[in-house]
Symmetry: C2
Subunit: 458 residues, 2 copies
Amino acid sequence: MTLAPILDAVDTGLEASLERLFDLLRIPSISTDPAFDAACVQAADWLVAELNDIGFDATRRDTPGKPMVVGHHPGDGPHLLVYGHYDVQPVDPLDLWHRDPFDPAIDQTDKGPVIRARGASDDKGQLMTFVEAFRAFKAVQGALPCQITILFEGEEESGSPSIIPFLTENRDELKADLCLVCDTGLFDPQTPAITTMLRGMQAAEFTVIGPDKDLHSGMYGGPAMNPIRVISSLIASMHDADGRVTIPYFYDGVDPVPNAVKADWDSLDFDGAAFLGEVGLSEPAGERGFTVLEQIWARPTAEVNGVWGGYTGAGTKTVLPSEASAKVTFRLVGRQDPDAIADNFKQFLEDQLPADYALKFTSGHGAQATIMPTDRPEFAAARAALSEEWPNPAVFIGGGGSIPIVGHFRDILDVDSILIGYGLDDDNIHSPNEKYNVTSFHRGIRSWVRVLGALGDA
Amino acid sequence: MTLAPILDAVDTGLEASLERLFDLLRIPSISTDPAFDAACVQAADWLVAELNDIGFDATRRDTPGKPMVVGHHPGDGPHLLVYGHYDVQPVDPLDLWHRDPFDPAIDQTDKGPVIRARGASDDKGQLMTFVEAFRAFKAVQGALPCQITILFEGEEESGSPSIIPFLTENRDELKADLCLVCDTGLFDPQTPAITTMLRGMQAAEFTVIGPDKDLHSGMYGGPAMNPIRVISSLIASMHDADGRVTIPYFYDGVDPVPNAVKADWDSLDFDGAAFLGEVGLSEPAGERGFTVLEQIWARPTAEVNGVWGGYTGAGTKTVLPSEASAKVTFRLVGRQDPDAIADNFKQFLEDQLPADYALKFTSGHGAQATIMPTDRPEFAAARAALSEEWPNPAVFIGGGGSIPIVGHFRDILDVDSILIGYGLDDDNIHSPNEKYNVTSFHRGIRSWVRVLGALGDA
């Protein structure tokens, strides 16, 4: 398949593509705030209309939450499920934005032109790279190289409460050979990436409860065991001096990074010191013996996200509180079992409780790590296609965060995912002044043209 | 001196004494809330009028804060300074009170009748034991057995901001041979006590600052050192497994309890297990090898009164905060130096900070422990006088808290204090439904009659 005329159509149509993206960015589809419910429906309707305009059979599918957008288009090649989300993060603190977050514009920066708006990168700009790639194929060839099922959701930023029931109820309709997800990043502005490993997660919260009321330190200070001392000891005991997590059985199911993958990572121009330096740190705090990249992509963590207890206002209050609490999230890798991690953590805490103390413990629904089947031929095909588009060859990378949808596609639809995206670390997603490089958008559309072409030929 | 007619006058006048106390209790003199500024002035004026009525030369002395009440009365015996405070704690949570906190009444309880109102015990009821004892002397004898200078303040519950300047500016007027303070408690309902040791205090607050902004645990979890882990390790390191504080030089100036005092304490019917059992604890957490009573009265402590960092709202937030904070108070004994404790604590924290971390540290104005000169003959005289009034002989006890005024009298006026009071642990001071046993009030007045008589004879 010759892609040149389609790529040319992407180039000549870029201005119009940007205008359409701007239309979508103007809709304040914040899914976490009920005040923007109507905007979420409006964004879904806008996408349905766009897709139908291109020739998809697209509909808005209402759920108890925000609507899904589902679209179908026939094609000769493999059947691909395409995923993105049209909802965006809240915009506060609004006063830190340099312009209205829902009045998109091109800003000229020293790194080139960028699209500035809430959702520009996460995920409207990325989602529209799919739509504009389809449009270019249709405009030039009147057809798509693969059969496409689109699923755009509107609840990704609020925990996707409707996704599991929706996938379950519409399993047959959404089933495909492979899924393409556009919600990740480039490795660097010159280097495209396929994210092949994602850490899983387990969350827990616990409270240690000692005296049955707050005590006065003048009366009980000394003989009464202070819950802040107890919780501090517990938290301090979660890591040893080498940065290893000390919870029993924690590393069960943690596999070494395969040599081939490790070689790929070692070839990357990743500067761990610069990465830490960006946030004012220099000394890696993860497990000794692993690079910063391995610590993020391939090693599990136990992080305390919040701690509180006693008096936290102004001045002094000589109180011994009756309890203290902490929130913890574990990032998981390999075959680590989230439920077992929660159980073992609870046991670990209980085993160390001092006399008279009780533990209140809750854990959320966890997610296992995701490891993509990179031996499927589509991974090599996509990698080669991306390498043709960008200055540097594409790389397989890991991801420190979690993208739960990938696990749901795997578990509910029995579909593997290829994660390709064009975001950059400095896109300010979830923060004021979010942006998406025009290059990301432009080369992103062209990248999908190449990937769709490659997969259609495969 | 025969005290019998004066004690009789106390007994026959008890109803009228209670009525006067109720008048004072009806004035909502909450010093921490500016809404009650006028009530504080009203309480001061009420006391001035009462004292002048008895024959004192009393005046309201305005300060930048709440007014002081100063009164003078001549007498042949030694010159005594008499201290109490007319301000009270706030009353919230108001819905936990069984009656209006400023509408005093006698409640019949299974432990006998009690005066129920805010300030009944702390400190209006106690302060009025002085006034009513003076009244009885004057009514029967037309004279007092000692020269008296009264100082009643109205800022004790809000940190006494005016006391140091006031004592300094009026040093000559307030100077006396000895001070009597009525703001402490009985050892138990049958056993009067003179508090001869008070722990000092030093307060500090610190923040550990790591990354220069909050981080996402999916991105930095692992290689970035988490400030909650850092502060937890610091707090956990403050005590060893035997409950000893590990800060260098912390125990400098901590003297063993003299054998005579220890023997006095050992003779007390103090049940450490019951004391801890009242708040749901059983295992003493202070230094191993010391009794619960010693841990409270004679050993220094390092207590974390508050800790906070990261996300503390509902649900999960996968954040690594940039900082975490804690508030600490040290209870000090013997010759421990508050400034040195603060300095050594700061150094202790700094020495353990991990790479890239900064410490923000503030410490308040500390107070040394107070050890009364119990070899002064007035202590033996007062002890004997109290022993005559109550079912059990009086005891010398320690106090776990601090009463800074005693240190100020010592430092500024060069006056020692004898601390005698009639409060009980179940008086609910600073809490809803504060009470003062009618027995405390009645025997309290009679106790001062006996103590004044004894000191006048000495």
